[in-house]
Amino acid sequence: MDAPAPAAVGSTQGDLHGSAIIAAIKASGIEYILSVPDIVTSAGLLRPISRDADLRLIRVCKEDECVGIAAALSYCDKRALVLIQYTGFLDSINAIRGVGVEYKQPICMMIGLLGHEPERLPTQSGRYGVRIIEPILDAMGIPHDLISQDADVAKIKPAIDKAYAQSLPVAMLIGRRPLPPG
């Protein structure tokens, strides 16, 4: 279901460093990372997180598990970040709908857009699965930010703080492969 290539846009150009994202995650008070591996965020985020003593990584078998774990942690005043691929987001929509949206729980999702062309906006992607993510989030009333270059990293802490302050889900879409540290 891939679409013809649309015109490129220039708003998503530039490097994206995993170390900057991880620093923002920590600055947001996140203690737990709940994840199924995603090749978009594998080298730049998940691998360094797996070695980071300040973050506890819980490797789950299927992405909707993250929703229950994160919700329960929030009752204990513990913050969690769900790090998954957009396919896992799509697979978890009922859990996000029920627990996150209808029951108003702070489910913070960092979603890798596998196959997304960083020079385009996600809604203009040639990849059908990528194109539908933002419209689905909009339909569910879930706020979202695109993180495609280092300048976007500043959006992470306010998004997470707002999700916990208002007890609502939020999505941060990773639009290019973050560069690994070092």
Binding site: Y32, R56, I58, R59, V60, C61, K62, D64, E65, C66, V67, G68, I69, A70, A71, A72, L73, Y75, C76, D77, K78, A80, N94, A95, R97, G98, V99, E102, Y103
Partner: protein, 187 residues
């Protein structure tokens, strides 16, 4: 086979300050028998009781967490057995009420009513796994089960005690959630 309400009455005698996570029919029955602030009812997205249980166990390692899962619910999230075993929370006791049916959805049978959940849990890596079919054994051993270092699993082979009323908005009411959070974050 045990009546679920009789089983829960025995369990309730052992519950003090534990967090109890219950799903669907177990939630409706447990709420009738033992309403308390430290109950959490996992309804609204079937299959997540075990994952909620893991989250509570990680978030409050000083408290014991008892999950009263359903067999249909656990079948929707069998991978959580592996996740829980790997995370290895010592304070988690995961029970599944095995009646072989989707009781809240018309009493239709689960895909294989003879599935061995305790064997699944053991193979996934739970520290201990038990299988209870009669009330006398359950009553005799439940104290020991709850005292084990987790994650512990127990299949409770039960049958419906009575037709239940499923008042989901009541089970997941905002005041219940606020009371739970207040109880868990009080210092």
């Amino acid at each position: 086979m045990m009546k679920r309400d009789e089983c829960f009455r025995i369990l309730a005698r052992h519950v003090t300050d534990e967090i109890v996570v219950a799903s669907y029919s177990s939630a409706a029955e447990w709420n009738e028998l033992n309403p308390r602030a430290l109950n959490f009812f996992s309804v609204g997205a079937m299959g997540l009781a075990s994952s909620h249980g893991l989250g509570f166990a990680l978030g409050r390692p000083d408290k014991r967490v008892i999950v009263l899962d359903g067999d249909g619910s656990l079948l929707m999230n069998l991978g959580s057995l592996v996740t829980i075993a790997a995370a290895a929370p010592e304070n988690l006791v995961h029970c599944v009420c095995h009646n072989g049916t989707y009781e809240a959805n018309g009493m239709h049978p689960i895909a294989n009513p003879n599935v061995d959940f305790a064997a699944h849990a053991r193979a996934a890596g739970y520290a201990e796994a038990y299988d209870f079919t009669d009330l006398a054994s359950f009553e005799q051993q439940i104290g020991h089960v709850l005292a084990q270092r987790g994650p512990v699993f127990a299949t409770l082979r039960v049958e419906r005690s009575k037709p239940l009323t499923y008042d989901y908005p009541l089970l997941y009411a905002a005041d219940k959630r606020k009371a739970l959070k207040a109880a868990l974050t009080a210092r």
